[in-house]
């Protein structure tokens, strides 16, 4: 059948028409072989613009449509839907990008831009000539979500998905859910107690009939694809039968082995058998074999087993593996602080009275190691002067991390304020580069710290901290007055940069989802798809995606949950059919495609001795097509023949 292709050139106001001679483009292409209709219009994406396309399809009986406009990421879906309503197969509607890749980048040379636009459209005409009518691939949907990470983001996401009526598996690597938020004292800008506002949510998770909570567990393996993931979860040996344990705490009380508490940021000890904090969910202990006398000294101890009234202690317990099927995965693995060891100029962790921001949180917390009193770690005295440092590792392109960690300005302001509330005659100094208070009520909070709590903000980055006469000497500068500043403080608190949780990097590579160069999970679009990964079926929540405070983490978690709920609203998931296909007649069975496929979508048919693509998994990345030595692997609607003709058109040969 002879092709009858329609070309629709969009002006995009002056975005395109201001540079490209759109009239000439439409006129020249009208004469190109195979083109049955060619026109231009101010805004092709508007209703009248779309109607123009639809009417032309019907009137001219078009077999292919090229819309020359903006990037296909913006309006490909729009015009494919328009094509469908006019009776065309949507995969025979193509976009030629003459805005982002032409008019916007060639504003200085209108003639060249016009000629490039013409060639770009010709390339797409060549493609459209051989485009086949395709149908989306339907795959079944398992309406169950996996949430990885039990901090505030994971908790919120799990609750929202569960409240939408779907089953959720919430996996948390430590013994309790709660994450970093459970460690915090009070929260900016309202100063409500972190645990008071968080524990109701934690309890709700534990009691929710739709949520299966798996603490002290890690995701070991994930295979499959959106709607049909298979996940393997490793339930770490807790050496405690936590199903029977009532959390009476007798074992913890009697345990003789101590080690620094992770929850208290090493400011206090915990036992080898422990519940991380009083409001832990579940409130049942786990035994840390690395620090347990029984394990370290070949069975010499066993006190916990002796005192347990329910015989819950099981030294023989092994890691348990659980396999589950889920349709979507929300990654909420959270953050860590940038290691203090990396900041040698501030002592790198060797000065007892130079502490991290999370350590100061624990100190301020009523449930913390000092019962909420601010005390110098070195001698337990109340500090009369405390220096707070922002940007410890952040905004330092040369030595540390280039990005702003976003939350430090606010939490250090809160720290300075809470210190003043607890030590009325104390003096708080905050060294800053910019005080960034972008959030509702944040600027007012900062003003309150400066005006009502006499916190002195000093504009400059501290260059050095050292110990002198039992005090921490802080050397900085006040760039506002040009004075070099020296403070002999009792304590210094470092606002260390926010980095992705260590576990996140491992998980991201296992899940095959993208991260940025610092390890934060990448969103599909920085503005318009901020809670999805580019890989379908994966959603992002909280500071695993980038530094975030509590309200933002909660908002993103709810957004991710609503995306999952929308996904689960259909019993089937429709995937793009623009994927690889292997010609069984020519495939030699070399298996190169299987070795290069990053999605495990290529498999070997042992009977026919050929490779095959699992169409529900293939993402259409093209790796196998490039690797296939016989050319048997081809991308649908992007075949070698199409590519050859497209390149020829581009080069005008």
């Amino acid at each position: 059948m002879e092709e009858r292709i329609g070309v629709f050139v969009c002006h995009c106001g002056t975005n395109i028409a201001g540079v490209v001679d759109v009239k000439r483009v439409a006129e020249e292409l009208a004469d190109y072989p195979g083109v049955a209709y060619s026109t231009d219009y101010t805004y092709m994406c508007s209703d009248p613009g779309q109607n123009l396309v639809k009417d032309a399809i019907k009137k001219h009986n078009l077999t292919g449509v090229i819309v020359a406009a903006c990037s296909p990421t913006l309006h490909e879906a729009t015009f494919r839907r328009a094509g469908m309503t006019a009776g065309m197969n949507q995969y025979q509607v193509e976009i030629a990008n003459i805005r982002e890749q032409c008019s916007w980048v060639h504003q200085g040379d209108k003639e060249a831009a016009t000629s490039k636009a013409i060639r770009t459209i010709k390339v797409m005409i060549e493609k459209a000539r051989l485009d086949e009518a395709l149908e989306p691939i339907s795959v079944p949907m398992t309406p169950r979500a996996l949430v990885v990470g039990g901090g505030i983001a994971g908790i919120q996401a799990a609750l929202d998905v569960a409240n939408a009526g779907h089953e959720v598996i919430l996996v948390e690597k430590s013994a309790s859910i709660g994450g970093h938020m459970a460690q915090l004292s009070e929260t900016f800008p309202t100063l409500d107690c972190s645990q008071c506002i968080m524990t109701p949510k934690m309890v709700e998770v534990a009691q929710h009939p739709k949520i299966r909570l798996m603490t002290y567990s890690e995701v070991d393996d994930v295979s499959g694809y959106v709607g049909n993931f298979k996940v393997k979860i490793r339930k770490k040996a807790a050496y405690v039968n936590r199903d029977v344990c009532t959390g009476c705490g007798l074992c913890v009380e009697k345990c003789p082995a101590k080690t620094p508490s992770e929850f208290d940021e090493q400011l206090a000890d915990r036992k080898a058998i422990y519940t991380p904090f009083p409001q832990a969910v579940p409130n049942k202990p786990v035994l840390d074999a690395e620090h347990c006398t029984y394990f370290l000294k070949d069975g010499k101890c066993g006190i916990c087993a002796k005192v347990c009234p329910l015989d819950c202690i099981d030294y023989e317990q092994k890691d348990e593996f659980i396999e589950e099927e889920v349709g979507a995965i929300i990654v909420a693995t959270g953050y860590d602080l940038y290691p203090i060891e990396n900041l040698g100029e501030y002592g790198g962790g060797k000065y007892a009275d130079v502490i991290t921001s999370l350590q100061f949180e624990r100190m301020l917390s009523a449930s913390g190691p000092t019962g909420g009193e601010v005390l110098r770690p070195s001698d337990g005295e109340v500090p009369s002067e405390v220096v707070f440092l922002t940007c410890c590792g952040s905004r330092d392109t040369e030595n540390h991390l280039p990005y702003c960690s976003k939350i430090c300005c606010m939490y250090l302001t809160k720290h300075a304020m809470l210190y003043r509330h607890k030590v009325h005659d104390g003096q708080a100094y905050v060294f800053y580069m910019d005080v960034r208070t972008g959030g509702k009520g944040y600027e007012e909070f900062y003003t309150r710290a400066a005006e009502e709590d006499d916190v002195l903000y000093i504009r400059g980055k501290v260059s050095k901290i050292f110990e002198e006469d039992g005090r921490v000497m802080v050397w900085g500068v006040d760039t506002l007055s040009g004075r070099k500043i020296e403070i002999a403080a009792d304590m210094a608190v470092l606002g260390l940069a926010t980095v992705p949780n260590e576990a996140a990097a491992k998980l991201a590579s296992m899940l095959k989802i993208h991260t940025d160069e610092w390890g934060f999970l990448s969103e599909a679009h920085p503005k318009l798809r901020p809670v999805e990964s580019l890989t379908p079926g994966f959603y992002l929540a909280g500071s695993a995606q980038g530094p975030k405070d509590i309200p933002e983490s909660v908002a993103q978690a709810s957004a991710a949950a609503s995306k999952v709920a929308a996904l689960f609203a259909e019993t089937e998931y429709h995937r793009e059919p623009v994927i690889a296909v292997i010609d069984e007649d020519t495939c030699a069975g070399c298996r190169v495609c299987i070795s290069v496929c990053p999605y495990d979508a290529a498999e070997f048919d042992d009977e026919k001795k050929v490779a095959r693509i699992k169409e529900a998994i293939c993402e259409g990345c093209g790796a196998c097509i490039a690797a296939c030595p016989s050319g048997s692997a081809q991308q649908k609607n992007l075949t070698d023949e199409q590519l050859y003709k497209m390149v020829s058109a581009a080069l005008e040969v």
Binding site: E385, Q427, W475, S481, I487
Partner: protein, 137 residues
């Protein structure tokens, strides 16, 4: 020279006095510099208005009291009308001048009793009053 900041300096009595006399909050200033940017006599000042406030925040009152700035300010209130934090620099200048004058009161520069009749009749009346007020406090 490094400036050694201490709690006592930040909450200095003298700074308290400036706040009381002027009715202005020194720590409210967030150093945007708008007062200095709009001041019509800033060229004549040795320390610009925003820096005067900054030095007070750092407890450096002596440096401010000996500056030319506090005598240059004409109290036109340009700064106060534009300050986003409601700080009246002119009132702070009033307070600083008052402090200087009260210090000088202890050591008068003009001997009022020693003024001769000739001097009194030749000199403009306002000049005599001004000299006594400014130099003797």
């Amino acid at each position: 020279m490094r400036l050694r900041l201490t709690a006592g300096m930040v909450k200095d009595e003298a700074i308290d006095r400036v706040e009381t006399l002027s009715g202005q909050s020194i720590l409210a200033c967030y150093q945007c510099g708008r007062c200095s940017a709009g001041c019509p006599v800033v060229e004549e000042m040795d320390i610009i208005p925003s820096e005067v406030i900054r030095l007070l925040q750092l407890g450096q009152i002596d440096e401010v009291l000996s500056s030319k700035t506090i005598w240059t300010c004409a109290s036109c209130l340009q700064c106060a009308s534009r300050c986003p934090k409601g700080v009246e620099f002119s009132s702070i200048c009033d307070a600083l001048r008052a402090i200087v004058l009260r210090i000088r009161l202890a050591t008068p520069k003009v001997d009022a009793d020693g003024l001769t009749k000739v001097m009194m009749s030749d000199a403009p009346q306002m000049g005599v009053v001004g000299a006594l007020r400014k130099l003797n406090g």
